[in-house]
């Protein structure tokens, strides 16, 4: 297993903020790995974070079958807010459909933004979402 980088302070603080929010919130590191989602997000995700744990980008972004509302075509990561925050380093918002881990189809609204630390370095992303 590859060694993991220490968690950046911004991620530690973001996790603490998310832990205290009633808004479903998901946090990734700078490589897009899922590092945390809060209790409020469990309803949409379908499972508690304690069961899921940290996941690399390629694993968690292919779950939940994200697809566009109109055509039901798969929505590539690059067009989803988390992908825009990671690759284009800007905030983004989108509505789309997912299938949660409990098998339920849900329409969600998603807003993501990049987290930049003191040296202007990207250290992760924060995503808030809710049922549309």
């Amino acid at each position: 297993m590859a060694a993991t980088r220490p968690k950046h302070l911004v991620l530690i603080l973001a996790r603490e903020l998310a832990s205290n929010l009633a808004t479903p919130t998901l946090i990734t590191d700078e490589r897009g790995s899922l590092v945390f989602y809060n209790e409020a997000a469990e309803e949409v995700v379908g499972r508690p974070f304690a069961e899921v744990g940290e996941l690399p980008l390629e694993e968690w972004t292919t779950q939940f079958a994200p697809r566009s509302l109109d055509s039901e075509e798969p929505l590539p990561l690059e067009r989803r807010p988390t992908g825009v925050a990671l690759y284009e380093r800007r905030a983004s918002h989108e509505r789309y459909q997912v299938t949660s881990a409990d098998g339920v189809d849900r329409e969600i609204s998603v807003t993501s933004f990049p987290l930049f630390a003191h040296a202007d370095e990207l250290v992760g992303t924060m995503t808030i979402f809710w049922r549309a």
């Binding site: 220490p6 968690k7 950046h8 302070l9 530690i12 996790r15 832990s19 930049f116 003191h118 040296a119």
Partner: protein
Amino acid sequence: MRLTVWGCRGSVPTPGAATVRYGGNTSCVEVSLDNGTVIVLDAGTGIRPLGQKLAGSGATRIHVLLTHLHLDHVEGLRFFAPLWSPQVSVDIWGPPSPVSSLEERIARSFSPPLFPIDLRGVPAQVEFRDVPRDPWAIDGALLSATLVVHPGPTVGFRIETPDAIVGYLPDHEPALAGAIGTRPPDWISGGAVAAGADVLLHDAQYSEDEYRQRIGWGHSSVADAVAFARAVEAHRLLLFHHEPEHDDAALDRLEEHARLLADADGLGPALAREGMVVEL
């Protein structure tokens, strides 16, 4: 490796009869590696007497590591004798800022009306370096720095040799980022640089009662310092950055309190004091 404490007072120097045992100089710790390399942690007023010693010993290359640029951690730099010798090279490391370079930020304290001599008039060969995100080496020691909870860009340092690990977090309020001890160490502010340290120098400015009145000021209670040391599995805890209002008698009581809190952990918590030497 040898550590020498030249200053462990927080916030402002406190000279006087009431503080002679723990000392009144602000943060400065000398780290001497076995190969003779000198690494200086912070440039509070304790760096002035250290500079006199280094100038007398003929040291020609010195690394100064700044955790942050609050006044009590840089106020001694202008009076650091090696800076005033053209034969000496001084590398100054500090946290990056998106607004201005380390040199620009430090230059403010080397300019009127705060100081008569401009930074350009300093005769030593001075290099300013942002601490890198990844570990780096200095003469056989592996160093790392991570941003920690304290107002403004602030890092904690880890110095690792084949023989020993030192963690240095003089200004740190980890409790602000969540309850200490309920999370894995890498989800605790400063956990990465303090993990498994043979000696951990950590902020313990307040009693628990004082801390409750000053949450968010960037400093820790004695209880939080002990909890942090326990969570990162440090082997020995030196409590640091003493509150200016605490005289020697008050600090004695805090040390006793820390020992009771640590109980059987083997942390052997002690308060840092000026002149303290720790051989590792």
